[in-house]
Assembly symmetry: D2
Homo-oligomer: 363 residues x 4
């Protein structure tokens, strides 16, 4: 039976999005003779318009190695709290989900593939309750989604951070400096932990393990005493000192809306400088971590997710999302995935490895 | 209790070897105050001499991102069949394993960590029978070892091949050409399969699925008929046509010892050119696939294997090797690992993905 | 005055081609309000059809970092010797240049930008004689074109080869091996020379300096005597032993049309193995050298060439090509550029540098 | 005549430093049988101690592709204003140049090779006046040194920034965002200009062309009107608005010593956001620009500089530095080089190229 799939991306950029799109199109169009409609700019494209375009084989040719998404995305467009101007010209948040359902029906699509993180998948689940046959594809560079071993985009982000650490190592070593590198991850320390190990960091600070800065300072001074006068400290953006999250937040408030000015990385560097009189430097890697060509791992995982999503539609397993489990791509209820976060377990084997390597985690 | 570990690499180069060495040294020296002796050039260094040097923390500083091995390795040195000149000056293969045991005892080491592939691990197991307390660390870019989800070096190799395919895609596309790319993997098709998917190959030929060249030719001609006049064909070095391995081997014999001249890649390209009159080009990637800086994944896996090997010694789990299972690094009898190969299962989910993407596997 | 430019690429793939196209379009369309027509598949697109498409700003958006050419190219299409089937169905070479002139006039274009190497530029010059207002843009990864300091594509090729050498170094070093790496360059040794220096090669063999293999062998044995048991030998595909080009050619003849099988790299490796009993390995880098994303240098140079070509048309400097001289992009008669080759001068400062570094050039 | 060379690096990290060291050692030790002493941590190593070590062939083996410097460096150590604690324990700046001369003589070296930027070369020239036979090697990622076409380190920095821009492009495009990327360069706009062109930036702001933010805003809005809702703006760290440097400096003063907090990049992003209501993001690339493996170009240039410096010593051309001019490495008086800066000429061909490509320079 021929079908028509609508496909959208929500949330931040993530290497591999084009791989999912290509996977869906090739599995649907080439293998099954179905149609695929690409919705533009995430849920915005369903609220407005609808804005979408037919995705044929030609439109996905050559896109696997490309970063970004050929469909555009949006961080904002939650149809249940959508920014709309009221009669006074003020922007208010309004539930326009009914409009989304109408527009979806107008498209004549049989199912919606929603590719996104926590936020997007929660919206997808609610749209599912409103009657849209939804299939989810988990996406986040932060790897903080449960029910899947890993998400695409994460491996690429770890690669970008590791490459930056490799570069910074030589400078830190030549100058006998302490370099503090703040990396992404939201509330999860995955990027910091893996890139920190791969990039030979001396200290890694994770949101999951509130840190004691005295231990960090002692570690650096011990290292200097042993003759190694340089250190790389990797700090997850969500890390915070034991009992101290508030101090950090306060300094962020003073930034008047300037993004990432004076985050936890600057705090750590300033404190180490102040306490030990060491020369420190801060690098906030920022958005370079979420763009550009995906790693082979992410290309493959994204492709697998895309073709499996089509199979879920074929089997009408709506309300489910695809997920990696060991060597297989399986199907799990979206509900289960968004009910919590995948955080680093302080007792995990990988954390033990870090400490066995002599990396200080601030505990 | 303080101990002394001897450590050696056997077999071909593999990105991550230095990560294992560094992991062993940091876990043994920094965490436990033990000593580590690095044996030079694989088993050769135990047969001769013994040739080894103390590995302290300084000696492993900065080596994690470096390819190769600071200890050197050897493809040859099987102590049970060691090349020795006899009284006539001819080279004969002799069992010198007794010498290895003597030399090992002379070192005063409590245990031997043997890092290597199938061949090295088989030797390690036999040395274990002769009384050397051995711990194994699996190593191969080909990913053909059983009992571990994956080996270090493999992820890097897939990355190198994918990058090459990215480059070749643009040329193939600009010139409307068929490009045949022969990649490593011995009897296993892992590198070909994963890099082929990641590199947008149109055809992937694996040792595990003997190929029908008519199907391959038809696929390429169909694709041309649809307007795509270029194709990338990835061929694993161990691939062979249905019922046809011998033909390929014969052509290899005619190369008079010149390595990789006229392998399966050239055969496939020549046949497609002959049968369909298409312009084909062959690239044999060769040794670039096994050297250079390891990927973050391989650095982490190698580090995990190194520190876990030290724990095995601490617990005296001799005759075992470390292995990745899901998120954990576990311990398995070496015997189990070397009793068979990890090959691509033609029914695996990943193979299904390839076919869903429209990739022709020659079946 | 509004104008219309036709644009074509000829010859092999070369990183930067899309940069030229983008430069031409942005300078012509955005700055001057002109039109640009992209001719498909090199001169083939002018002989047949004509096949071409309008290039607007959107069509060149995002193409600067992409390898290949959005227009396609052709190695064959010399309109003065164009392969055509005669009445017997045999392919003969025919002068169809009149047809090209007719087709060009039919397009209504005011000028033709021809991007290509030696062969393409020679054709362009002849078409200029036939009345087509032509402007040339030099292109070759081999850097063998005169009258310009350097061509785009070359810097990328040197980068690819250097990265491969970096990988091979670690393997050569770990295994104490002699690695012979054959690289592109046609009759010029530029890629071999620069990549060889950058990649820490021990021996570099260039077409411009016929080599004495005894000197090469002695150098390697001396190096081994000093304790360095590995060596990387970079061989330009056009290199040949003193008084010995024929031997090499003969071995190529025995390959029955299989491309690059048994080239000079295999010869050098086999001879060193035979003469000194050393373990050698050959890597023929092949087509990976000419594809993929261009280096920043090549993107800039290609962009400069593109915008300058538009200025040449504005000034009606037909029969000229753009060229880099020091910090400026200048205009030179195409005739001058194709009258000879840019080869490595054996007395150049760069060659002296190589020898001062202790690199053996076989003389 | 056998000689002994002392060698030191001064100033910030710069890819290629190890290439100079290796070039000096190979040309001196291997070609001439001289000795080379490596001074540790820049001028600090001559003030204290002296601290230095013999550099033999083995010590430079494999260092060409490595970032940083095996000798260490120092940003501080100006012997004419050296930080010394006085009797009260306060740090004062003192002229210890006499001590440097004494220590140099104690080393028994015939000449000093000083590798560094503006600051280091000025010190070198003054030491030359005090009787130390000095040869200079220019070094800076900023490319702001006169008398040489280019310095090593610069090409690598441009490459790193371009790669970051490639990544950011996909995110900017997917999110329809304005991304502001602040890059290094001190008072010179070279890195911003070249990386901006190579990375397809829409706007490039240079110190040499004070910018008019209204023009920048108009350009972005025009672009949006044409359908391109994303833009990358590259800002050199030294850029400033017309008549406005002071405002920027003031905001930097408020950072309480935190490095690079609230520089010109944040100013530009905040202003565009404020004036046009656009979503902007800032990335400050920071120290990743100056570390890590050097590009092939920089490896070659560094090697050339190293071997040529040895030749200058052989010819006793003291008080001179090596420099690239066209295809040759020449010798120029250090005095000439440090008397001014190499800045971007607003009328240069390369700047014209940028504007022809439609890049807004804020004028």
């Amino acid at each position: 039976m021929s079908r028509c799939i609508a496909l959208l991306n929500g949330g931040g950029d993530c290497p591999g999005l084009n791989g999912v799109i290509r996977g869906v199109v090739r599995a649907a169009v080439l293998q099954r003779g179905w149609r695929v409609l690409g919705v533009e700019d995430g849920f915005d494209g369903l609220v407005e318009g609808p804005r979408c375009r037919e995705l044929d084989l030609k439109s996905v040719c050559g896109i696997l190695p490309r970063g970004g998404t050929i469909l555009g995305t949006s961080n904002r467009g939650n149809p249940f709290r959508y920014p709309v101007a009221n009669e006074n010209g003020d922007v208010i948040l309004k539930d326009v989900s009914r409009q989304v359902v109408d527009h979806f029906q107008k498209l004549g699509a049989d199912a919606l593939v929603a590719v996104g993180g926590d936020g997007t998948l929660k919206i997808a689940r609610r749209l599912s309750d409103l009657g849209i046959p939804v299939v989810g594809v988990p996406k986040t560079i932060d790897n903080d989604l449960q029910e899947t071993d890993v998400t695409f985009g994460y491996n690429t982000a770890v690669g970008i951070v590791t490459e930056a650490l490799d570069r910074l190592q030589t400078t830190a070593e030549s100058h006998h400096r302490v370099m503090v590198v703040e990396v992404m991850g939201r509330d999860a320390g995955w990027i910091a932990l893996e890139a920190g190990i791969a990039g030979s960091a001396e200290v890694i600070l994770l949101p999951e393990i509130p840190f004691d800065l005295d231990l960090v300072c002692d570690h650096i001074m011990d290292r200097r005493a042993r003759g190694s006068r340089f250190s790389i400290i990797v700090v997850a953006e969500g890390a915070f000192p034991k009992g101290g999250r508030k101090i950090v937040q306060a300094s962020a408030d003073q930034t008047h809306g300037l993004e990432r000015l004076g985050g936890i990385g600057h705090y750590v560097a300033a404190e180490i400088g102040r306490r030990k009189g060491l020369e420190t430097r801060v690098v906030v890697l920022g958005h370079v971590q979420r763009g550009g060509t995906p790693s082979p791992f992410d290309r493959i995982l994204a492709s697998r997710f895309g073709v499996r999503a089509v199979q879920l539609i074929e089997r009408e397993e709506y309300g489910h999302m695809v997920a990696l489990r060991g060597r297989d791509v399986v199907s799990v209820p979206i509900e289960q995935a968004v009910d919590g976060q995948n955080l680093v377990d302080p007792d995990a084997n990988l954390v033990w490895t870090a400490e066995q390597l002599g990396i200080m985690l601030g505990r």
